[in-house]
Symmetry: C2
Subunit: 360 residues, 2 copies
């Protein structure tokens, strides 16, 4: 490895000036393309800059133009294809407007998110798109907003933060999907989420993520409308990794009053739930019905194909980038962020329960 | 949206100095924690900095410490869970050493990669991990290396560039997998890859990606050893999107002398190939055998579960980050980058061909 310190030092305007045998002010004007500078000086400076592989100081450049043409994106889990697809929507849109996209992954950890926002601001991004890990701990985002820095939220709202937010109506689709399961005869409907909480779920619990909170509310409304109670004992949070999700799934299905249907809160959870169901030797939908958030391509390849809640993730990425660029460019009349709705795609993983639940 | 320009202006050392009623030099010393400064001045400066929400200029700070504690990662397709998992390995390792990770996605486009490297260097990252889109067009990477900036390649080699490279032995696993299919009776073995080329594949063609080139070489060696010729007409490149992959799959299976086995070059291609096979009403492995690179969780959930080539992707991310941090910290005795091997995981998608191929 070449680690000669002298070669690693960045070439400065002073170096270029010295090589071109001009003053530093002249070199700065020629490189910055401002002020009066003779053709001869300009040529010598540019030749020296090329020779030395001079890289203009990004900070100095952005002080001239006021923009770094870079967007910072903070997502919770880059391994989740949901974010991968949203990121593609963001990147495609940014590229068309001449912006580069820098991503940081937070692993759904608020401390990591605070750090990510700090790093991106230090790197002088023109604006931020954040999928907040928490809808409650949002002081760092409020500070960004209050400093006037363009900010758009993706997927999740943040309490007390009135900024452009691109998210689907989760309460609505959760209500509709739950009603669909209730209509098929299910009463013991489980919901499995990665959301971290200190205690097991109980009725009325404040949930830190607007997405999960809205889904709970939608389920509750569907049960209420059917004159039933949401089975709180089947709302299972803290489904962190493959093993814990499988354990939760086994518990849900092997208890005396088992779940007859499981809703997985995202596609990664869904994978583990389906695998656990298969390992128990149970069949979908004969023994247990299954429904999940995220319409990943593999859900069409399982036997049976899975019933899913599809979100327009790519388009949401596009809308988030468009809203941010609008803010960065300071357009006077901001267009409203479009509303997005999710869609229940009925494939083959929901049927009537084998033994109709007795209510609760 | 709040876009008051005066509030957006970054707070400078001069602002802090003014508020603390000290000289700029005193403020700089107190903020930068160097030189002599009285306790009284330090307290006033730090209080003013907090009051004004002063954010130290990253460039200035890195000029003091020589490091920004940021690693830049350039990947080809963040939607591909392969890169998602590798990125997690990188991030986990970086975090433990106090480094933040900034990602840029290139969509496997060399121009975008050149731009990504430029942006990351402008943002003063301490080093770069790149999965190069091309193993041939690598001048921009050579320049990075020649400037002495720490650089590690992931997944793919770059010709003429002698830097730490974390990749599996693709030739070997491709040879072994192909031999396994030949041993099962297959002669008409297809290979489907996204690699973009100007012309269809022909024998001896120079392939721009070391990964794909090595896989071709491994297939060729396996055929040679069996006294057979690699069926060049079944090596299909340019499998760009879902529709084109399905079209290629249909062509491979509906021709007079069809493929009896298909190797998909990654998990995203595999999804589309399997879907096309299902849409044709064909069964795996009775009608066609299937094998793919990448052991994604969903491959265990299909009927039958799929035979795959598993790569230690997470561990490779860990090794790439470790090698880069070693370079950044300038350790005198660099440990060798560990060698990684892929593994053929035999599940249920390979069987003897329905009609044994007649060779070619």
């Amino acid at each position: 490895m070449n680690s000669d310190a002298s070669r690693r030092r960045d070439v400065t305007v002073a170096d270029v000036a010295r090589a071109a045998q001009v003053s530093k002010a002249q070199a700065a004007r020629a490189l910055g393309n401002y002020g009066a500078v003779s053709d001869d000086v300009r040529e010598r400076v540019l030749a020296a800059a090329e020779e030395l592989e001079y890289r203009p100081n990004e900070l100095a450049r952005s002080m001239n133009t006021g923009k770094s043409h870079t967007i910072g994106v903070v997502v919770g889990d880059i391994e989740n294809p949901h974010f991968g697809l949203a990121t593609r929507g963001i990147t495609d849109t940014a590229k068309r407007s001449g912006f580069n996209v820098i991503l940081i992954n937070t692993d759904e950890d608020t401390e990591a998110e605070i750090d990510a926002v700090r790093v991106l601001l230090d790197k002088r991004v023109d604006g931020l798109i954040v999928a907040p890990a928490s809808s409650v701990e949002t002081q760092h985002l409020r500070r960004v907003h209050e400093s006037g820095r363009p900010l758009v939220l993706l997927d999740r709202k943040a309490s007390g933060l009135d900024v452009d937010t691109v998210a689907v109506d989760m309460e609505g689709i959760s209500h509709d999907s739950t009603s669909y399961l209730i209509g098929a005869g299910h009463r013991r409907i489980a919901f499995v989420s990665t959301l971290k909480t200190d205690e097991p779920y109980r009725d009325g619990m404040v949930l830190d993520s607007s997405q999960i909170s809205d889904r709970r509310d939608g389920m509750k409304r569907a049960f209420d409308e059917a004159g039933l109670n949401l089975p709180d004992d089947l709302i299972r949070l803290n489904a962190g990794d493959n093993e814990s999700i499988k354990k939760i799934t086994r518990e849900l299905l092997q208890r005396p009053d088992p779940a007859t249907a499981i809703i997985a809160s995202d596609g990664l959870i869904g994978l583990s739930v389906v695998e656990a169901i298969q390992e128990l030797g149970l069949r979908i939908p004969d023994d247990v019905s299954f429904l999940m958030y995220d319409d990943f391509a593999w859900t069409r390849l399982t036997t049976p194909p899975l019933t899913v809640i599809a979100q327009p993730v790519y388009d949401m990425g596009v809308a988030a980038a468009a809203a941010l660029i609008r803010q960065i460019e300071g357009r006077k009349v901001p267009a409203a962020v479009p509303e997005f709705t999710a869609e229940l795609i009925r494939r083959g993983s929901v049927a009537a329960p084998r033994v109709t639940g007795v209510g609760n």
